[in-house]
């Protein structure tokens, strides 16, 4: 005979609007084994939790059902309250009558009937719950950071400064990310390189940071506190220990005409190269696709000229395995490729803008390289077509952003500000030039941001035209911009020397594949999803994995740095403990019935199933059975569904419990 308490929550009006909560409580009171019921406006609040604790004491409750929101939201809250009241927390369950009921139904009577059903099922389940004890697991106090842009660098430095070990993995040959490509930064116009490169040096010199550049994540296994990560270090063809970074190999390489992607293909680099002079590490890589040695087996100039003998053509990809306790994902963004629509893409192209066919139509990042002192033109703003100084430049905002008809409905957040910055940089370098900006809205929330934007109009004389651009075309050596000015209701045509498109911010190519390796979720655009949009903005729903920077959504530098430090703080909180408590919802094998077919091992996604030999006292083998390692088991229940002899069950989700829940309907 059990004594169960049912606590029905109104969730403000979220539940009570569609569900008659008083009726649910009254009906629950009639169920066999229910000793107490009540309803309350906010069960998760302090008075609500006290209600629960008091009821446990007064009515000697042995099990608790909280009919409220999803267990993902507040299961932990109420289990803690149960624990405080002296009830084993695993005898407390949530009946989800919000997400599964009130939010998705309109008819009050039907919703109430369904809520009663849900509560009835959970009562049957709690009756059969066992008292479970949490499993403790050790924490590996070492963090993995994926991505070496400003987000990854900031997280890495913060965690390393707190005394913990950090492994930083970067796909490109150098860390620095997009911020290293920028010229000057809003809203203060300080030089990006000047604030970025010292941080890059700090990373490489930090005793607690292990840096893997030109490397990618191959596979991730394990769980919070105990991840095993395989990192593929791509063959650099240069021995990092021997190379002094003198640069003779780059100077002597006969292949000099390879477009430099760091400069948005405006400049050239050799086949053995560092992406930019301030690269960290300052060790070149050989681009094997373009290297004459790798293509024809002839040349070998770089090896001949290398004093320390660091060039090694035989180097192969290397797999490094790292044990870490936490992961910060900071893979950043890329700009929307604005050519014609790619085949099979859900996102329409912008063929009508002629990007890729009209040389003087460029994107914002290309303009950054033109304006950068370390860029291909040394900071002189010229047109790509003929190298002339453009006297009129048209900037177009929201290319791909906020464009539902093209497939992207979100705002890219940074373009209003960087376009305002571009107009200033342009005016500072071409005094007699005129900048025009086509914009939908100027979105400038941020400290000093609106003042900055006003300055571009009032002091730097940029002409802002509210309206969209429909088409760009080449006419002689000009690019004609056809657009509209919605303020005065006319069509506008501007003949420009250069057109700069503020294209949408998208997650990095391959963001979805990485998410699948990590087991984290992402939205339809492949931005990674945080656990809660407001209250857990840097954590993933997957424990132990944190987010920093534009991989989670478009972000500027100050926001990125804030989020990166927040992610680092979360990692430090985790590392402050020596052991973690894990939910004991794990599979257990009934060794009496297990026949050792190990079908469970084939389906286990966590690799938690092992073979176990059962021997008699004299050591003779009786049989082989399956054994589930509770430290590794993720509690998914796949083995339970697979087992032909029904000998493996998940605690809290036994067949008996599930059948009882179904029968209760």
């Amino acid at each position: 005979m059990s004594r169960i308490g049912v606590f029905v929550c109104h969730c403000g009006e979220n539940i009570s609007r569609t569900v008659d909560v008083e009726k649910v409580a009254a009906e629950a009171g009639r169920l066999f084994g229910v000793a107490y019921t009540c309803d309350y406006k906010y069960m998760c609040s302090d008075p609500g939790q006290n209600l629960l604790k008091k009821a446990v004491a007064e009515h000697k409750l042995e099990g608790i059902v909280v009919a409220a929101c999803s267990p993902r939201m507040h299961e932990k809250t109420f289990r803690n309250a149960a624990k405080a009241a002296g009830v084993n927390p695993f005898l407390c369950e949530m009946a989800n009558i919000r997400e599964h009921c009130s939010w998705v139904h309109e008819d009050r009577d039907e919703a109430t009937a369904k809520a009663i059903d849900i509560v009835t099922m959970m009562v049957e389940r709690v009756k059969r719950n066992k008292k479970l004890q949490p499993i403790t697991v050790p924490v590996t106090k070492k963090a993995l950071i994926i991505g070496g842009g400003i987000a990854g660098i900031q997280s890495a430095l913060d965690i390393a400064d707190s005394g913990h070990q950090v492994v930083l993995v970067e796909r490109e040959p150098s860390i620095g990310g997009h911020m290293a490509q920028l010229s000057e930064t809003f809203p203060t116009l300080d030089c990006s390189q000047c604030i970025m490169t010292p941080k890059m040096v700090d990373v490489v010199n930090h005793p607690n940071i292990t840096l893997h550049t030109y490397a990618e994540i191959e596979a991730v296994e394990g769980y919070i506190g105990n991840f095993q990560v395989k990192v593929r270090k791509k063959a650099r063809s240069v021995d990092m220990a021997k190379c002094t970074g003198c640069g003779v190999c780059m100077a002597k390489c006969p292949q000099k005409k390879i477009p430099n992607s760091f400069d948005k293909n405006l400049g050239f680099r050799p086949a053995i190269y560092v992406p930019f002079p301030q690269a960290v590490p300052n060790t070149p890589v050989i681009d094997r696709e373009n290297c004459t040695w790798f293509k024809t087996g002839k040349c070998g100039v770089c090896q001949k000229v290398c004093g320390p003998g660091a060039v090694d053509y035989t180097q192969e990809d290397e797999i490094v395995v790292e044990q870490v306790g936490a992961v910060v994902v900071a893979t950043g963004f890329q700009l929307y490729d604005i050519g014609p629509k790619p085949a099979g893409s859900a996102i329409e192209g912008y063929g009508e803008f002629g990007y890729g066919t009209i040389p003087d139509v460029i994107d914002g990042l290309t303009f950054e390289r033109l304006a950068s002192a370390s860029g291909p033109t040394g900071g002189k703003i010229v047109r790509p077509s003929d190298g002339a100084e453009p006297k009129s430049v048209v900037f177009v905002q929201c290319v791909g952003s906020r464009a539902r008809e093209k497939g992207i409905s979100y705002c890219s957040k940074i373009c209003c500000m960087y376009t305002a910055k571009h107009t200033m940089l342009y005016k500072h370098k071409v005094h007699d030039g005129q900048a025009y900006v086509f914009f939908m809205d100027a979105r400038t929330p941020g400290k000093g941001y609106d003042e900055f934007w006003r300055r571009s109009i009032e002091e730097e004389e940029a002409v802002y035209i509210r309206g969209m651009v429909s088409r760009l075309y080449q006419k002689g050596d000009k690019v004609v911009v056809m657009g509209s000015d919605v303020h005065i209701g006319v069509q506008v045509e501007i003949e420009a020397d250069l057109v700069v498109l503020a294209t949408a911010v998208q997650p990095r190519e391959g963001a979805d594949t990485l998410a699948q390796k990590l087991g984290i979720s992402y939205d339809k655009y492949h931005f990674y999803s945080e656990a809660h949009a407001k209250l857990r903005p840097v954590e993933c729903a997957t424990a132990g994995i944190y987010l920093a920077g534009a991989c989670q959504g478009p972000k500027d530098i100050p926001d990125t740095v804030s989020q990166a430090s927040a992610a680092a703080a979360k990692v430090m909180t985790l590392f402050a403990r020596n052991e973690l408590e894990r939910e004991p919802i794990v599979a257990k094998v009934n060794e009496r019935f297990c026949v050792g077919c190990l079908a469970c091992r084939k389906v286990c996604p966590y690799g938690a199933v092992e073979e176990k030999e059962i021997r008699d006292r004299s050591g003779n083998l009786i049989k082989v059975v399956a054994y589930v390692n509770p430290g590794v088991c993720g509690g998914c229940g796949t083995c339970q569904a697979t087992c032909p002899s029904k000998s493996v069950e998940l605690d809290g989700y036994t067949d008996e419990q599930i059948m009882a829940m179904i029968e209760a309907l």
């Binding site: 014609p340 629509k341 329409e348 192209g349 912008y350 063929g351 009508e352 008809e405 429909s470 088409r471 075309y473 080449q474 006419k475 004609v480 056809m482």
Partner: protein
């Protein structure tokens, strides 16, 4: 391609213009389909699609006219082939709007006093030629290659817009006309104004607007190096062809740019007799151009 696909058969909605000012579009369409051995059977008793005026003054009228036409089209087998860009747009828009709005469906059914039958696939000639018939077969059917003829393909406003409706091609950067005429060996030019408005119905109420907008289209085609313009819309044709002399007078520029319906050029390439292509009813005569290119 499966053998069954080789026998193509369509119901045909010509629309008012093709029985009047755009007779040559109708004639050349029939000629082309006959030459390509594609069946084309006119829907009996079809009505006006309502064109621009109907949907400007009364949406229910506009939807009902097209819904009636779709119902009538079921008398004839085969997907519904449409030549006129405006008719195509109205029929497609009607299917789209009624599919997404139950209330409007009820209103239209009430207005027609009959259950709705909207499911007949509506296809523009371009889609039939490019997809159903296929560009390879089209190229194989060419008897008189148009090589050397530089064609500016003009889409106008309605063929591909609004973005979610016609599903013919990329809304702002299409290539279907270029691909279709390219199959005849003609050279297509790259030009700026192929998607701009010609001025449309303003040709009657404010011709000055048309002279300006259509003038820019002609200037752009000339700049692109075109010998002629190819259209799929009777109204665009009227503005670019009939108004061309006035445009020349107003702008002081000479264009002499023949404006063909797409089927006139395609039928010419497919070997249809020139007497059946209605070249005589074009205001800007194409004769000297076609002679120069050895096509007449």
């Amino acid at each position: 391609m499966t053998p069954a696909k080789n026998i193509l058969n369509y119901s045909y909605y010509p629309g008012c213009s093709l029985h009047a000012s755009a007779k040559e579009y109708d004639e050349s369409t029939r000629g082309l389909f006959k030459a390509l051995k594609i069946g084309l059977h006119e829907v009996p008793d079809w009505l006006c699609c309502g064109a621009t005026p109907a949907h400007n003054v009364d949406e229910l009228l506009s939807l009902s006219l097209c819904a009636k036409n779709l119902e009538l089209s079921n008398q004839v087998d085969g997907d519904l082939a449409v030549a006129c860009a405006a008719c195509f747009s109205r029929l497609k828009v009607t299917q789209h709007r009624l599919a997404e709005n139950e209330e409007k469906r009820h209103q239209v059914a009430y207005a027609l006093d009959a259950p709705l039958a909207l499911d007949k696939p509506v296809k523009h000639l371009l889609e039939i030629l490019a997809t159903d018939f296929g560009l390879d077969r089209l190229a194989a059917a060419v008897q008189k290659p148009l090589s050397g003829l530089k064609v500016a393909c003009y889409y106008g406003c309605l063929l591909t817009r609004p973005p979610d409706v016609p599903e013919l091609d990329d809304c702002e950067d299409p290539s279907i006309m270029e691909r279709v005429i390219g199959a005849t060996g003609a050279e297509t030019v790259s030009w700026s104004h192929r998607m701009e408005c010609c001025g449309a119905n303003f040709t009657l109420s404010r011709p000055g607007v048309v002279l300006k907008l259509s003038g820019e289209i002609l200037a752009s085609a000339k700049r692109g190096g075109a010998d002629c313009i190819m259209v799929a819309c009777p109204l665009c044709h009227g503005n670019l062809d009939i108004r061309q002399k006035e445009i020349e007078e107003a702008s002081g520029r000479h264009y002499g740019m023949p404006v063909f319906y797409m089927t006139q050029l395609l039928a010419l390439a497919a070997g249809v007799s020139t007497s059946k292509l209605g070249f005589g009813s074009m205001m800007v005569s194409p004769v000297s151009l076609l002679k120069e290119k050895g096509l007449l």
